[in-house]
């Protein structure tokens, strides 16, 4: 199939960017979206032009590196997939595809389609852990029995890949879904309860400091999340936060 691509090009963080048009022929349905861009880049390199830079690594939907706002949607039109697992069979011959970086003040553009998501790391550094040393001198793993339902729910929250689609989907560029996924994982486990009060306060404080917006329960994040992280995590984080505030 033949595609008309409109791609955001930006030299670096301080230069202005613009949409550039490309026409690409010979795209097959079995290709992934990123393989389609590989072909475009191969053409650009052969013409001596600079290829379009985009973030990607594992290409199996788990590392969370790839991003892209495709026709206005983070990770494109398909549900429960990252861009690297989006296949071209979802598009038609003659389609125009607009490809932009994830847009948020807290995610500044580095180059072309690459954004800086280190704000997410700093939110995790503020409290996304259980403060236990890695000496191995802990209790036997089965001395902490955990209700299967709770363990499964913690796992569901823990599957967040930190790609930032929730932020890119949100009209307020809120990071509540991302932050609440980690808060929830630990809130649901007995090991995590011990620091629950400090954790939620510290992570929310950092989230605000990074310049992410507020949640207005629109739910776009949940729809666009490639891992299906549920909005109930945000409700849980709000409860945790309120309880922590009341505790002082």
């Amino acid at each position: 199939m033949k595609l008309y691509l409109k791609i955001w090009r930006q030299k670096d963080a301080s230069s202005p960017g613009k949409i550039v048009d490309y026409t690409l022929d010979g795209v097959e349905g079995d290709m992934s979206f990123l393989e389609m861009l590989d072909i475009l880049n191969e053409e650009l390199v052969s013409k001596g032009e600079e290829p379009v830079e985009f973030d990607h690594d594992c290409r199996e939907g788990i590392c969370g590196t790839c991003s892209l706002q495709i026709n206005g949607e983070p990770h494109g039109p398909d549900r429960l997939v990252t861009t690297c697992q989006l296949h071209m069979r979802k598009f038609n011959d003659g389609d125009t595809i607009v490809i932009e970086p994830f847009r948020a003040n807290a995610f500044p553009v580095i180059k072309d389609l690459i954004v800086d998501r280190s704000a997410f790391d700093r939110i995790q550094q503020a409290g996304g852990y259980i403060s236990v040393n890695t000496s191995g001198n802990t209790v036997d793993a089965n001395c902490i029995p955990i209700n299967k339902h709770d363990a499964d729910e913690a796992m569901d929250a823990a599957t967040c890949i930190g790609c930032g689609a929730c932020v890119a989907a949100c009209k307020n560029a809120s990071a509540m879904l991302f932050t609440s996924a980690k808060v929830s994982q630990f809130a649901l486990l007995p090991q995590g309860r011990i620091e629950a009060v400090e954790r939620v306060q510290n992570m929310v404080r950092q989230m605000d400091l990074e310049g992410f917006g507020n949640c207005t329960n629109t739910g776009a994040c949940e729809v666009e999340c490639p891992k299906g992280i549920s909005l109930t995590n945000i409700a849980r984080m709000n409860r945790e936060y309120l309880a922590a505030t009341l505790k002082g």
Partner: protein, 667 residues
């Protein structure tokens, strides 16, 4: 033994690690504050090591090429992590895990290292649970286990099909705690370009900030390389696109011996190649072999009809299916080790029974598991005389709960529903057992340069068992390296900060700059990917699942010529002083072009078949691997002396005092 002293402690096998820990020197907490350590790579081994070293009090700097430590490729490990907990009461023990690993590795790994791995395996699970890793549990609240290839017990702990992700996020969380405390400085989007040696000791690295293109100098008292494997030398592999050998290869060029490069794991269950545009291959976890049955058509005409799209696999009657693993290996069936399963798939496809339009695929079928689980579920749900549709529905729910994410991934890629029609799979390059040679302390042949995780060669011999990579990465990172490195660093307590304005740093930085300029000055005919794909084809055809002397000799020559062509004609766009993904790729491919040659040379000298290394000249009448313990019971450690084909071989003889060498049989 000279330079290849493995430093294995004396005494009985089970006491060696404890004895060693008691004997080695320690650094007192106040002195640790004056010692700097660089950790390159932030996967399971690097992330775990960085966190633990920082907790102990050292000043740690971490480097990763990704935009966050959480993205290291350990994250993609699916199936699980082994530990000899014996929670299932099925007779597991440290000894059994040790034995299975040595046997699984086809008797090409060190007894002492592997025993230590088994010994600390249980601790890993305790540690991870304490960190909040959400392992799968049973209804009673206890941890659940499953079984993996090459073993007869259930010792694999898992978190759905995302075990690697959860373990990595655990290590990342431990790192974050130390970053928050200021004990770890994390450098993301940074690539190690070279290792810096001062007076023969590893004292720092030259790194490139991948965003600004700036070249940086970083010094330390020791350097830990936890930079993963080199599977991408094949271009198509299950590795991440960025996975590369640069750090390890730069160390090799500076004097670190590279061991057993030809020991590569071809994983049996990956999604088959669909076309030339393909950029990478996707793994379907080995855990699927717990419930999936592997088969090809028994009749040639059925195989042909399937390839031509005239017949569907579900239309083939039970008696016309060849469940070739169950046929050939009744004791282990579908759960034979990876090397055996891969070769068996190749054998059937080469014989003309392959499916998929390419003829390079076999079926992994869940129909009987769905029925089995469906009946069980109907029984426990109190449904009497369930009809077929109900059974299948209930069974599919069970399968979905176990492997849902894998089935979803398959469906997205292949566009077929694996609940209704068998999956198609084919072997693909997955893991590299070879790597930097290390001693018992995980130190390379360069003093102060350590290697951990997949980057070293140590524990898996010629073939790694499923769910053992996560175990080894975390064992090295959490429990081995942070202690053994203290013995070396105890001599550095009075050294003081290592200056970066020395002649050694000047020289190393100059070499890095010269190399990049040379890469940019190619005549500009072909792209970097063009060379990478060409290299991959040579590797897959001549150094892949089956090798022979003639092909390997050709490979050495072809790779050497391709490398020359690359340096003269590669086209790298952009500039050095800016973000430049083409330049990043070029540097990595340049090193793969050297490693590939050494790989072929190593495979050529090893005149035997063992584990993942199968030489066509050395096989039994039934086509099984023919090992030669008399002549090849050694680790091949290569010294860099210029061109890879001139590399000098050093042999570390493997001594088996606790295990009797046997022909590996899974029949």
């Amino acid at each position: 033994m000279g330079i290849l002293d493995s430093k294995i402690p004396s005494g009985p096998l089970a006491d060696k690690w404890t004895k060693h820990k008691n004997d080695i020197n320690l650094v007192n907490p106040a002195n640790k504050r004056n010692i700097d350590i660089i950790v390159v790579g932030t996967g399971l081994a690097g992330g775990a090591a960085a966190a633990t070293l920082a907790e102990l009090g050292y000043n740690v700097k971490t480097f990763c090429y990704q935009d966050s430590p959480r993205r290291a490729h350990s994250i993609a490990a699916q199936g699980g992590i082994n530990a000899a907990k014996n929670y299932q009461g099925d007779g597991d023990s440290n000894y059994r895990l040790f034995y299975d690993t040595i046997k699984g590795g086809d008797y090409r790994s060190r007894e002492a290292n592997v025993y230590r791995l088994a010994e600390v395996s249980g601790n890993i699970i305790d540690q991870c649970v304490a960190q909040g890793v959400p392992f799968a549990r049973e209804y009673g609240g206890m941890l659940d286990n499953r079984s993996f290839g090459g073993v007869l017990v259930s010792r694999t702990f898992y978190a759905k099909g995302q075990t690697g992700q959860q373990l990595l996020l655990g290590a990342y969380a431990a790192m974050n705690r130390q970053i928050h405390r200021g004990k770890i400085q994390s450098f993301t989007r940074h690539e190690m370009m070279d290792l810096v040696l001062v007076d023969g000791k590893a004292r720092g690295i030259i790194a490139r900030d991948l965003v600004s293109g700036k070249i940086e100098r970083h010094s330390a008292h020791a350097v830990v390389l936890a930079t993963g494997g080199y599977g991408n030398v094949f271009f198509l592999s299950t590795n991440a696109m960025g996975s590369n050998v640069m750090a390890a290869w730069r160390a090799h060029r500076k004097g670190a011996f590279f061991a057993n490069p030809c020991f590569t794991q071809i994983h049996p269950t990956c999604i088959p190649v669909s076309g030339d545009h393909q950029s990478k291959l996707t793994l379907m976890s080995e855990s699927l072999r717990n419930d999936g049955r592997i088969w090809v058509p028994k009749k040639m005409e059925d195989a042909v009809a399937i390839r031509e799209g005239k017949l569907k696999p579900t239309q083939i009657a039970e008696e016309d299916r060849d469940y070739y693993l169950e046929r050939r290996y009744p004791a282990f069936g579908n759960l034979v080790p990876r090397d055996v399963a891969s070769r068996a798939a190749k054998e059937r496809c080469d014989a003309g029974f392959g499916v998929n339009k390419t003829g390079e695929a076999v079926y992994l079928d869940f129909a009987s598991a769905i029925k089995r689980y469906g009946k069980e579920k109907a029984m426990t749900s109190g449904i009497k005389d369930p009809d077929e549709a109900t059974i299948i529905k209930l069974g599919e729910d069970v399968i979905e709960a176990k492997y849902g994410n894998l089935f979803q991934m398959y469906e997205k890629i292949v566009d077929e529903n694996p609940y209704k029609t068998p999956m198609m799979i084919y072997p693909a390059v997955h893991y590299t057992m070879g790597g930097l040679w290390v001693d018992y302390n995980l130190q390379t042949t360069i003093p102060g340069c350590y290697a951990a995780g997949e980057a070293n060669f140590s524990d898996h011999g010629a073939n790694r068992l499923g769910a053992s990579a996560l175990m080894q990465g975390l064992a090295d990172g959490y429990f081995v390296l942070p202690y053994t490195i203290g013995d070396y660093l105890s001599k550095d307590i009075r050294t003081g900060k290592i200056p970066t304005d020395s002649a050694a740093f000047d020289e190393a930085e100059k070499q890095v700059r010269d190399r990049m300029e040379k890469l940019m000055s190619g005549s500009g005919i072909h792209s970097v990917d063009y060379y990478h794909k060409k290299l991959g084809k040579i590797m897959w055809n001549k150094c892949g699942m089956a090798r022979n002397a003639k092909g390997l000799e050709e490979a050495i020559k072809e790779i050497s010529e391709l490398r020359k062509d690359f340096w003269e004609n590669v086209k790298v766009t952009g500039t050095i002083e800016s973000k430049n993904q083409e330049l990043e790729k070029a540097g990595r491919v340049a090193d793969f072009l050297e490693l590939g040659e050494l790989f072929a040379k190593d495979a050529l000298q090893r005149n035997e078949s063992c584990g993942g290394h199968f030489r066509e000249e050395y096989q039994t009448e039934e086509g099984e691997a023919l090992r030669d313990d008399e002549n090849f019971k050694f680790v091949a450690a290569w010294e860099y002396v210029g061109e890879p084909k001139d590399a000098k071989l050093h042999k570390e003889d493997l001594v088996y005092e606790n295990i009797e060498l046997k022909t590996r049989s899974y029949k």
